[in-house]
């Protein structure tokens, strides 16, 4: 067991350039900002809070890092009403009851010490992530969906990589996990939580990067068509839409066009496929007017 006293990070990357290269090698094209922040989170051993619109690759980033480090990915999907029994650990009540009934005639002391042992502990994602010696990536997904109380639960884990179970004592990470939290910003996360993390706002990529992403994800698509597609999406994002298309939608659109066998982005094609990138009728109408579709 290594002590985390030296403050070392997870040690997946050696430099920013290395981060860019290795993320690209597993199919995640990162901008300088993303690569720099991931590298820092890795080196400083701090959790990384990623915020941004849906579909820009927040969850994908965690998966990519896990693939690079050949690490186990532990995922905690947050939802309204999630509590420590689902996130941290739970005592296996049924088993404890069985244990008590099975040993009716033994003394109180024996029973008490026994039923709060490792055997009766059900580990949930957060505790799982800090136990075990293999490299781990902990993904806490859509934290903004969880209640405020859950954040308080995370604080001990995020600052010291330890979890305190009152009956067992404090469990410290034998090996620091790479922690990535994502949020869609539907509510503000507490100051205490933000202070413990590095912050990355993952926005829509610039045209050049998005073009590369489309080429990587949909290799069969014609080069000039991909360029036109990225430009149209860029223009749509500059409009005031209810839901701007994100990278996931761009890639979907590219796949659709490929499947349809379109070779230029003309009126008919765009009109028929606009529903792939825009999810509100208002937006479709607005975009059609903007692009003056016949």
């Amino acid at each position: 067991m290594t002590e985390n006293g030296n403050g070392d990070g997870t040690g997946f990357f050696t430099s920013v350039a290395d981060t860019v290269d290795r993320l690209a090698a597993v199919g995640y094209l990162a901008s300088t900002a993303v690569a720099t922040t991931v590298y820092l989170a890795d080196r400083l051993g701090k959790p990384l809070l990623v915020e941004g619109p849906a579909g820009v690759g927040k969850t994908e980033l965690a998966k990519a890092v896990a693939r690079i480090g050949a690490a186990r990915l532990v995922r905690l999907q947050c939802y309204e009403g999630i509590d420590e029994a689902r996130a941290l650990y739970e005592w296996n009540h049924a088993k404890q009851l069985l244990r008590i009934t099975a040993g009716r005639d033994e003394g109180w002391d024996a029973a008490r010490t026994d039923i709060f042992g490792e055997e009766f502990l059900l580990t949930r994602p957060l505790l799982t992530a800090i136990r075990g010696d293999e490299p781990t990536v902990l993904l806490i997904d859509e934290l903004d969906k969880a209640d405020v109380e859950v954040e308080a639960l995370l604080l001990e884990l995020l600052s010291d990589f330890q979890v305190t179970v009152p009956e067992l004592g404090t469990i410290t990470a034998s090996r620091r996990p790479f922690v990535l939290l994502t949020s869609n910003a539907t509510r503000e996360l507490s100051e205490a939580l933000r202070r413990r993390c590095l912050f990355l706002h993952l926005d829509y990529p610039d045209a050049e990067l998005e073009h590369r992403i489309v080429r990587l994800q949909v290799p069969g698509l014609d080069e000039t068509l991909a360029a036109s597609l990225v430009r149209v999406v860029g223009a749509l994002r500059a409009m005031e839409l209810r839901k701007a298309p994100s990278v996931a939608e761009t890639v979907d659109w590219a796949r659709t066009l490929l499947a349809l066998g379109a070779d230029t982005l003309d009126d008919a094609v765009v009109r028929d496929t606009l529903g792939v990138i825009l999810k509100h009728q208002d937006d479709v109408r607005k975009a059609a007017r903007k692009l003056t579709l016949a």
């Binding site: 900002a33 922040t37 910003a185 539907t186 590095l198 912050f199 706002h201 007017r289 903007k290 692009l291």
Partner: protein, 497 residues
């Protein structure tokens, strides 16, 4: 991202130089942090230490990496990004004095410093415009950054420096001379000509957005010039002063009354995210308010896990009746921005209320709920203008008259107000010295569950000039509400759940 990496500090030659360099970096970092705090970002010493650790890990070689790293350590939300970027450019500038690239190849300095009159040839300007058009057409950011430096060098200087503080660099002046907007048609023509095939007009849909793309690039270039001008001024006056005075505030601290057109547009973009956040906050308040009654069935079910002992009681979820809201907005020119923003915000939050009705007035009151709802496809930016055009909010003159507007509301629309209704009045209470008509407000207040008045002016101005605010404040709760942050705060605190 495409800016070429350039060392911010000269390479240290010996330890003494190294020490001063380290001290200098620390001073710049703390300066940056102080400037950000001045703009309302809450940054503790722990974050400053983190930021220093970031610089330690990254080194000072790549400016864009430094920018991203410091942002990761210091920022806590995306809204703070613009202020951070501008401050970063001031405290970690690209270089000192005339940009290196320009120094190596200085443009011909005009011997005659006075701006040329109309019709006189201006070769320097023509040359810069020529190269800028090429850089914009090719979307070459590095060339644009270089040109921004040249433009400021050539046209941005004002004053002679005869007295300290009288000279400086102005982006406004430089851009006025260069007028990059007028390049649009030229760039479009050049790009179209060069297009792959001269076939039918715009067969490819992507070409129809070309004009927008070029406009965005020009806007980006204007930003570069402004940054460059700030950098040069900061050398004369000190980065701290410029960071304090010359940077636009974060969006949620833009003063409603002082906001320009761009700022209003920026505010409008924050409406939906803000509405979502407020909805979650209100929902949380509702949940807390609903605690109290034990749900016996669910408590028993839950107790099975603990061997029949009800350790964790379950509470009954009460479905509360959602409150009704009536909005009464002054849409006259002086406060239109504020009314506009609040109306959009309330519309975005409409599912939080069982009923929302919106009334607008200048000196007559008219219901505009439908106008607001039918908005769908139209430009939300012209809301106030449309209300002025389509609703009868003005009588025989165009000046605000709160007295007659309140009287009109109390006369014709009082049925909109019931015991479950919260009435929100928006306006600066500047009544042009007319009768404030307090009895009408009393009548509304008597019927409503609560009446709140949000005034975009600061309280110290309430007693000045033609403001009737003190009189109205005696009848209803009046709150000063100058920016979006304050508005969000008031909505979560004051609206009933």
């Amino acid at each position: 991202m495409t800016t070429a990496p350039r060392p911010t500090e000269p390479g240290p030659e010996d330890t003494a130089v190294q020490d001063t360099a380290a001290q200098d970096t620390a001073a710049r970092l703390t300066g940056l942090v102080r400037a950000l705090r001045g703009h309302g970002l809450r940054i503790g010493p722990a974050e400053t230490v983190d930021a220093a650790a970031v610089l330690d890990v990254l080194g000072l070689d790549d400016r864009e990496q430094m920018r991203a790293g410091l942002a990761a350590a210091l920022l806590r939300s995306d809204g703070q990004r613009a202020v951070f970027d501008a401050s970063f450019d001031l405290f970690f500038p690209l270089g000192i004095g005339t940009p290196e690239a320009v120094r190596a190849d200085p443009p011909p300095v005009p011997e005659d410093p006075e701006p040329p009159r109309f019709g006189r040839p201006d070769p320097l300007r023509d040359d810069l415009r020529e190269r800028l058009a090429a850089a914009l057409a090719a979307d070459d950011r590095a060339a644009q950054a270089r040109l921004a430096g040249e433009v400021i060098e050539a046209f941005g200087r004002y004053g002679t420096g005869a007295t300290p503080g009288s000279d400086g660099w102005s982006a406004h002046q430089a851009l006025g001379r260069l007028s990059p907007e007028t390049l649009l048609a030229r760039i479009l023509a050049a790009l179209r000509e060069r297009g792959p095939e001269g076939g039918p007009e715009d067969a490819d849909v992507a070409d129809r957005v070309l004009a927008d793309e070029i406009r965005r690039r020009i806007q980006g270039f204007r930003g570069l010039v402004a940054t460059e001008a700030r950098r040069r001024v900061a050398e004369l006056r000190g980065a701290e002063r410029i960071a304090e005075r010359a940077l636009a505030p974060t969006t949620d601290r833009i003063d409603f009354l002082a906001a320009g057109r761009d700022q209003i547009a920026e505010l409008r973009r924050t409406v939906h995210p803000l509405a979502r956040k407020l909805a979650t906050r209100l929902a949380a308040r509702r949940r807390r308010a609903a605690r109290g009654h034990i749900d016996l069935r669910r408590t028993l079910r839950r107790s099975l896990a603990t061997g029949g002992v009800p350790l964790r009681p379950a509470y009954r979820l009460r479905r509360p009746a959602r409150p009704e809201l009536v909005l009464l907005c002054d849409v006259s020119g002086s406060v239109a921005g504020f009314a506009d923003f609040t109306m959009l915000l309330v519309r975005a939050m409409s599912e939080q209320f069982s009923k929302v009705r919106v009334f607008a007035f200048v000196n007559r009151t008219a219901e505009v709920t439908d106008l607001l709802r039918a908005d769908g496809a139209d430009d939300p930016g012209r809301l106030a203008a449309r209300i002025l055009a389509e609703a009868r909010v003005m009588g025989y003159h165009g000046n605000s008259d709160y007295g007659s507007a309140l009287a009109g509301f109390a006369e014709d629309h009082l049925d909109a107000v019931g015991p479950r209704t919260t009435v929100l009045i928006l306006g600066d209470a500047r009544n042009n010295h007319r009768d404030p008509n307090l009895p009408a407000l009393h009548r509304i207040a008597a019927r409503a569950r609560r009446v709140l008045w949000l005034n975009p002016e600061q309280p110290s101005l309430w007693t000045t000039g033609d403001s009737a605010a003190p009189a109205y404040a005696a009848v209803v709760d009046m709150h000063s509400c100058r920016n979006a942050r304050r508005l969000a705060d008031l909505i979560t605190r004051l609206l009933p759940v």
